[in-house]
């Protein structure tokens, strides 16, 4: 049985963690995930597209907290350090380079995983201390249906993984339904953002390019053994090649967003899908029910 799938919320429906992903940016992933969240009751929306979080445009939350997210990284005092290299030898990620002849200690933050081993093995008092380094900001607030949580990575930070895993660890409530807007693409941050999901929704556009990007994310989702379904955005009724691929892969098409000028226009103005297409809110609610009933 899936994690969390037996829990019920106030309305008596099951609570689930649903991640929304896409093979690349600009497929309508956030447009869909925000409206899905807004159509439900008692739901937390997580914007984990940490390089460019823009769910707030549609969700329009009231932000109450901004928390800096820190990691512990080593700092070496070259006056105290004896250049014994114990720290560098112990670091599994090669993030430290000690050059005894030159009496230099080099640190490569991009490689550091904040594991703390270096400070543990250093035999010299205060030669290597752990310092906090801010890597991003977590913004918390409320929207009409529940909590809004967003991560934004500082510019120049090499990886969104630590911020995403930190948010999931500290803010994901096992008792509540969560809609998670994942980063686009197929990299490690995407994997991190869907680890705790009960279900993964892939948003795609029915073009040859969209298909090849989608194939990559399908692989990831399958590797992680997650249940999944596809949302076709800008559907003009000619999505044959995409449908063909999905049929062969035994992945259901769970929703279609039609192609219409009106939708494009309201999208560009930051108006959510549920406020644009009449009746779509009910359809999204039903989609959630179907997913949670397996």
């Amino acid at each position: 049985m899936l994690l969390g799938s037996t829990k019920k919320n106030r309305q008596g429906t099951k609570t689930m963690k649903i991640a929304v992903i896409s093979g690349k940016g600009g497929t309508g992933k956030t447009y869909f995930s925000t409206s899905l969240a807004m159509s439900l009751e008692d739901v937390d929306f997580f914007d984990l597209d940490v390089e460019e979080p823009n769910g707030y445009i549609f969700i329009k939350p009231v932000i109450s907290d901004e928390i800096q997210y820190n990691l512990l990284v080593p700092e070496i005092d070259e006056d105290r350090c004896t250049f014994c290299k114990k720290c560098a030898d112990a670091c599994a990620y090669n993030a430290l380079s000690i050059l005894p002849q030159l009496k230099k200690a080099l640190f490569f933050p991009e490689l550091c995983h904040s594991c703390g081993v270096c400070s543990f093995v250093c035999p010299v008092d205060k030669a290597l201390i752990e310092v906090e380094k801010g890597i991003g900001i977590i913004r918390k607030g409320k929207f009409s249906k529940g909590n809004f949580i967003e991560g934004k990575l500082n510019i120049g930070e090499p990886s969104g993984v630590p911020l995403i895993s930190g948010i999931m660890k500290d803010h994901l409530d096992p008792e509540r339904t969560a809609i998670i807007d994942s980063p686009p693409g197929t990299s490690c941050p995407v994997v991190e953002s869907i680890k705790k999901a009960d279900y993964v929704i892939i948003v795609t556009e029915p073009t040859p390019f969209g298909l090849s990007d989608m194939k990559l994310v399908v692989e990831i989702v399958k590797d992680l053994g997650k249940k999944t379904g596809v949302v076709i955005n800008k559907d003009r009724g000619d999505s044959k090649i995409t449908e063909e691929f999905l049929r062969k892969s035994e992945i259901p098409i769970i929703f279609r967003i039609p192609y219409s000028l009106e939708i494009q226009r309201s999208y560009s103005k930051g108006i959510p899908l549920i406020s644009t297409v009449p009746g779509i809110e009910q359809k999204l609610k039903r989609l959630y029910e179907d997913i949670s009933n397996g």
């Binding site: 560098a88 990620y93 090669n94 993030a95 380079s97 000690i98 050059l99 005894p100 002849q101 030159l102 230099k104 080099l106 490569f108 991009e110 490689l111």
Partner: protein, 106 residues
């Protein structure tokens, strides 16, 4: 001057230079003035993940090399070399003797 050369086989001066810095099978330390091999040792880090270049560069500096011949090191390894005032001579193919000749001709 001592040169540090990453090679893909241990075959004296006829050893082939490895096309990837930090992932060569062996490291050779070579005396450029006397044209002599000082030592060759197996690269025990080659199968590690990220950051092998940093380790390799650290070894080169530790062995007192002021020249490294081989494939372009990554930016982080390059930083280590810069700290150690090690000159980088990029060469991705050929043998150690070719490299020494090319370096001297430059």
């Amino acid at each position: 001057m001592r040169a540090f050369i990453a090679i893909s086989e241990d075959n004296g001066v006829e050893s082939k230079i490895d096309s990837r810095f930090g992932r060569g099978s062996y490291f050779m330390v070579y005396d450029m003035e006397n044209e002599k091999i000082i030592n060759v040792e197996a690269n025990k880090f080659r199968d590690e993940g990220h950051g092998v270049g940093i380790k390799t560069a650290g070894i080169a500096v530790e062995k007192g090399c002021t020249l490294v011949i081989g494939a372009q090191p990554g930016p982080k390894a390059e930083q280590v070399f810069n700290e150690g005032n090690v000159e980088i001579f990029v060469m991705t193919e050929g043998t150690v003797s070719d490299a020494v000749r090319k370096y001297k001709e430059k």
